[in-house]
Amino acid sequence: MLYLELLIQGLVQGGIYTLIALGLTLVYGLLRILHVAHAALFTLGGYLGVILTNATGSLALAMVVTMLVTGMVGMGVYRVAYQPILDKPPYVALIASIALFIASEEIYRLIFGPYGLSYDAPPLQGVIDLLGSGMYLKQAELLVLLGTGAALVGLHLLSTRTRIGIAWRATVTDPEMAASFGIRTQRVRYLNFFIGSALAAAAGVMVALLNNLVEPTMGSVPSYKALAIIVLGGIGSIRGTLIASLALGVIESFGTIYLGSLLDRDAIAFAFLILVLMWRPQGLLGRA
């Protein structure tokens, strides 16, 4: 029973990780940038979600608007922060990204205050009896699992069934060749940042639902853990990202119970990361 509960908690956490890490892995696959500031968009999503839900009373509406707005902010981040320094060494973009992330935390603190915000009437807090087995799942947790699934199916359909999706995959595989076939790679990059940021925003809204709290520093753990996940999964691989996210969620959830006296949550995650990388330096599903 305990095992099953831990497993489900781990999968919920893993779902959140997936939504955040997908955007990051898309950015890395396309531009080879470790986009730390991605977590800033996750936090922005959390704040917008809470504020809009409180203002309109509708979580669904807030979710849609939040994803659209954050997606556009994400495109702005690409235009302002990354596009001018694409041809410089990779650590330049990394440091610029970290600087942007620190600045964003400060901006949230100055605008929204240091103590965070909550939902006036937190939605989806009811519990569902799972299969009548006495296992309970919060509605919000179910939303995370369904949302992650929907995001993956959506991404799959987009990348295999639409023209822009095919252009996207072509650009990831070989940007120069794609450009010579008339694909506007710039457009693909904007799309990439839009989708990735919108997914991170959705994760932010969901985390706000799970904790009923958004605060300026809520992005600091995802900022580094999502990096670990995309490396673990094999960079640029969506399937690898999914597996790594879920594995990490479950391992953390079991690890904090059984190894908690030895290591804390982050250390368990990173011990796992180091072990996997020493065994497969290219990540779980990465190509050598």
């Binding site: 080879r32 922060a81 330049v92 610029a96 995650a269 180091i274 990388l277």
Partner: protein, 282 residues
């Protein structure tokens, strides 16, 4: 006056710490996002060994040795993974270090270690000692950069595969860079432990690793005078910014961001361009 001395001592320790990372990342091209862990290993070793009765300058050697042992182990990972993967792996080691320290009672756990014995020197004397160490490390770095060893490091930083083709023992040099760099970081950590006399896991986290990496990059990766200058300024900057209290970190990060957009090769690069410009005009 006491405040200025404390600040100046912190600046000297930062110089030692930043130069230690410059040796690994700047000279040998191995990016590290977990360097604060070695600073931490040094600080904990110095704190515990001096509490156990080891006399002051000797416990710094113990700190260097302990950090170098951990540096060797982490360096082994650089033989397996490269570039961004290495950055994430070293970041992982940083979190692993923190996670272990937080859960171990004999290391003080979350509470850290307090009442670390002082150096036995006066405040001014300790500043002199820290400054001497900083100067020594800077001279050693400058010497190293021009030596054959530094030349090999540069070759590896430039293109590892080519370095291997011309029969450089890449693995050995990388490990050597890690051992040297982390040993110096350990000394910096030891100096820090005797300086503040209280250490806790919070002083050796991810933020500190980022801070020291930004010193190296703002200084101009690999440039010894640039990194020294950046370490001095970036340590003092947040304190100068005290006046604007609430906007301190915002301004700091904005400066870093603009620096990356406008001159990514840092202060060292600026100096190089100035001197080269002058040469061209004559």
């Amino acid at each position: 006056m006491g405040y200025e001395i404390t600040l100046a001592t912190s600046m000297c320790i930062s110089v030692v710490f930043a130069l230690s990372l410059n040796l690994i990342t700047g000279f040998c091209g191995q990016i590290s996002l977990g360097h604060a862990a070695f600073f931490g290993v040094g600080a904990y070793t110095a704190a515990l060994s001096s509490k156990a009765g080891l006399a002051f300058p000797l416990d710094l050697l113990a700190a260097a040795a302990a950090a170098a042992v951990f540096g060797f182990v982490v360096g082994l990972s650089s033989l397996r993974v490269r570039h961004d993967f290495l950055a994430i792996t070293t970041m992982g080691f940083g979190f692993l270090f923190l996670g272990v320290v937080r859960q171990q009672d004999w290391l003080g756990g979350e509470m850290g270690i307090s009442a670390i014995p002082g150096s036995g020197l006066s405040k001014l004397g300790y500043l002199g000692f820290a400054a001497a160490v900083a100067v020594a490390v800077a001279l050693f770095s400058a010497y190293l950069k021009r030596s054959w060893l530094g030349f090999s490091f540069a070759a590896i930083a430039d293109d590892e595969d080519t370095a291997r083709v011309v029969a450089l023992d890449v693995a050995r040099y990388k490990l050597l860079a890690f051992v040297l760099g982390t040993a110096i970081a350990g000394i910096a950590g030891g100096l820090y432990a005797h300086h503040v006399r209280f250490i806790s896991p919070d002083s050796f986290g991810f933020v500190e690793s980022i801070a020291v990496l930004s010193m190296v990059i703002v200084g101009g990766i690999g440039s010894v005078p640039g990194v020294v200058f950046a370490a001095l300024v970036l340590t003092a900057l947040p304190l100068w910014f005290q006046v604007i209290e609430d906007y301190k970190l915002l301004l700091y990060s904005a400066l870093l961001f603009i620096m990356m957009q406008l001159c990514e090769d840092g202060i060292g690069g600026l100096m190089r361009r100035l001197t080269q410009g002058r040469r061209r005009t004559t």
